[in-house]
Point group: C2
Chain length 333, copies 2
C-alpha cells in the first residue's frame, strides 16, 4: 500500500502538504494540488481509513442493528428498509456494518461493539426493546435512530400504523363487512398503534368488536397465523373478513382457507399488511408501508444527529397507502 509519505517523497513536498492537497484544503496552491493529485493517482494511492479514523474520531461507518432471532435479513419488509438506508448512506459517503454482540469472537454487548468499531452512529431496526442491551445502546451517547419504535432518547421513524389499520377497517366497512377479525402481532408499540386504528375504525362505523375476533400471532409467522385462522373458522359466528399481522403470515391464513375449501374472497375476505412484493403480485388487499421512505428518512435523521449531536430527538411518521387488491368481497348485495 502506497502511503502519503511516498507521495510526498516523489513530489518533493512534506506529508502535511500531501494530506492537505488531497483533502482540498485552501492553504495549498492549486498548482501544487494538481501535481500531487496526479502523482497520487499514478501511484494508486488510497487513504487508510483506520489512520484517518484514529486521528479524526470519525469513521464514516454506521452500525446497523436488527433482530436476528426473527426472519431478520430474510424478511422482505426489513430488507427493503435496509437497502434503502444503505443506498442513502452510501450516497453520503457512509458505509454500513452490522452490529452484533461479539468482539473478536467473544461475547460482549452491542454498545461495546459500537465503541470498538467507532461507529459514527447506529440504526436500530426491528429490535426488541425489552432487551437490556438495546436499552443500553439507546441510552448511550452514540447518535442513534430507531425504525418502527419510538424511544424517547433517540430519533425515530415509524410508520403510520394507526392510520394503516384505520384505512383497512374503513375499506372493509365500505365493502359491507361488519364482522371483521384482526389477528395482530406481538404487543409492541407498533401493534398497539394498529390496534388503536382497528378499534377506532370499528367504533367509527358502529361495529361492536367481538372479543373472539381479536387474536394474537407473531409477525412473519405463517404457522401461528394458520392456527389463528383455524380458531376463527371454528367460531359459531364466523367473521367475514380477516386482517392478518402482515402479508407474509397471511400466506398461512390463505393456506388454511384453501385447505378448508373456502375460496377467497367469495367465502372469506383477507387483508394483509406491508405491501411486500409477493403480496402485490398475488393481488392481496393490503396496506403498503413506505419502506423505502422509512430507510431513507431514517438515514437522514441519523446523519443530522451525527452532524449536530446537540439537536433533540425527533420522531417522524412515514405514511403508506392502502392497496385495493382482490381479496376482499363486497358483502350484502
Amino acid at each position: 500500500m502506497v502511503s502519503m509519505k511516498e507521495i510526498a517523497q516523489k513530489c518533493g513536498v512534506s506529508v502535511a502538504t500531501v494530506s492537505k492537497a488531497l483533502n482540498d484544503k485552501d492553504d495549498i496552491a492549486e498548482s501544487t494540488k494538481e501535481m500531487i493529485r496526479k502523482v497520487a493517482d499514478e501511484m494508486g494511492f488510497m487513504a487508510n481509513a483506520s489512520a484517518r479514523a484514529l486521528k479524526t474520531n470519525r469513521t464514516y461507518n454506521i452500525g446497523v442493528l436488527f433482530n436476528n432471532d426473527d426472519a431478520g435479513l430474510a424478511h422482505d419488509y426489513f430488507s427493503i428498509i435496509l437497502n434503502s438506508f444503505k443506498v442513502a448512506a452510501e450516497e453520503e459517503g457512509y458505509d454500513i456494518t452490522f452490529v452484533n454482540h461479539k468482539i473478536a469472537g467473544r461475547e460482549s454487548t452491542y454498545l461495546k461493539h459500537c465503541e470498538y468499531r467507532n461507529f459514527d452512529g447506529v440504526a436500530i431496526i426491528l429490535a426488541d426493546f425489552k432487551d437490556p442491551e438495546i436499552i443500553e445502546l439507546a441510552e448511550s451517547k452514540l447518535p442513534a435512530v430507531c425504525i418502527d419504535y419510538e424511544y424517547y432518547n433517540c430519533s425515530s421513524v415509524v410508520s403510520d400504523n394507526t392510520k394503516g389499520l384505520l384505512d383497512i377497517v374503513r375499506y372493509a366497512g365500505s365493502m359491507g363487512h361488519r364482522k371483521i377479525a384482526y389477528i395482530h402481532g406481538e404487543l409492541t408499540d407498533v401493534t398497539k398503534n394498529r390496534l388503536m386504528g382497528f378499534y377506532d375504525g370499528c367504533r367509527e362505523q358502529g361495529i361492536t368488536v367481538d372479543p373472539s375476533y381479536v387474536l394474537q400471532s407473531n409477525y412473519h409467522d405463517i404457522e401461528q397465523c394458520s392456527e389463528c385462522t383455524k380458531k376463527l373458522l371454528q367460531l359459531e359466528d364466523r367473521p367475514t373478513c380477516i386482517i392478518c399481522p402482515d402479508d407474509y403470515s397471511a400466506m398461512g391464513c390463505l393456506r388454511v382457507l384453501a385447505q378448508e375449501g373456502l375460496s377467497v374472497p367469495k367465502d372469506m375476505s383477507v387483508i394483509g399488511y406491508d405491501g411486500i412484493n409477493m403480496a402485490m403480485i398475488n393481488g392481496m388487499t393490503t396496506y403498503m408501508q413506505d419502506s423505502i421512505g422509512l430507510g431513507r428518512i431514517a438515514f437522514k435523521k441519523l446523519a443530522d444527529k451525527i452532524d449536530h449531536p446537540e439537536i433533540p430527538a425527533e420522531h417522524s411518521v412515514v405514511f403508506g397507502k392502502f392497496i385495493e387488491g382482490s381479496t376482499v368481497a363486497k358483502i350484502g348485495d
Copy 2:
C-alpha cells in the same frame, strides 16, 4: 473513551503491559493480568479498532459485495446466504461491511473501497463478472471468495446446478412427462450448468428437446417469466411441465396459468428452483439449494485464505435436495 494509557496510570504499569495483559500475552504475570483486567472492566475500557488495525494491518472486517441492480438484499435466496455468512463470520470475530464503489461520497472502484477500509477479505456474491470492476477486484491480491461463480483466481462455492436440473428432469420424467419446458435465467455460468443438467436429463430419458420449449428470462423477474409462460401456452404443441428459473419468478408462471384458467398441476405442472420459504409453504415442487451451507462454507474458505494467503484457490460444490411438492401431476394414467 478510556484508553490503555488511563488504565496504565491507574494500575501503575506501562501501556505496553496493559496491552499485553489484555491480549493475554505470556510474558505478563497472571496476577498482573488479573489486576489489569479488573481495572479495565471497572473503567469500561474498550479497545480502539482503528488504532489496532493501523498497527496490525488486520481489521477483522470482511467486505460483502453483491449486485445491487437486481433484487439484491430483497432476494430471499441471497439474504439467506448473506445471513449465514454473517453468522459464521461473527462467530469467528469478523464483522461484515457492504462494499460499494463510493468513498466519502465520491465515485471510486470496489477494489479501492476495499483498500480504503482495509478489509481482511471480500465475499463476492451474485456479482456480474462482466463488470471490469469486479474483475479488478477478483484479480487483486485481496483474499476473496465467490459465491455462485467460479473465477480461476478466487476460491469459490457454487451450488450443484447441473445435478439440480438433472434431478428435476428425472423426476418430471418419472411422472410421465415428455414435453418439458425450461425457462432458464440469463446465460451465466450457473445457468449454463443448469442447462447441461437439463439436456443430460432429457437425453438420459430419450427425450428430444423441442427448441421452442427452451426460453430465457431473468432470474427473480416475475414479469418476464409470465411472458415466457404465455409464449409456451401459445405453442400448438404445449409442454406439460414448465421448469422456471427460480421459485420467485415461478409466481409469474403460476399467475398466468391461473389467468388462463389452467389449474396446477392438473392442467400444467410447474417446477421452481431455490427452495425459498414461500415456495415450500405453497407446496411448490422445487430444488432446494443449501443456501445456509453456501454462506457458511464460503466464510470458511475465505477465513482459510485470509489466514494462509499462499494456499491456492479452491472450488467447492454444495449439494441441495429435490423437493417433491404438489405442483407436478402424474401423466399418462
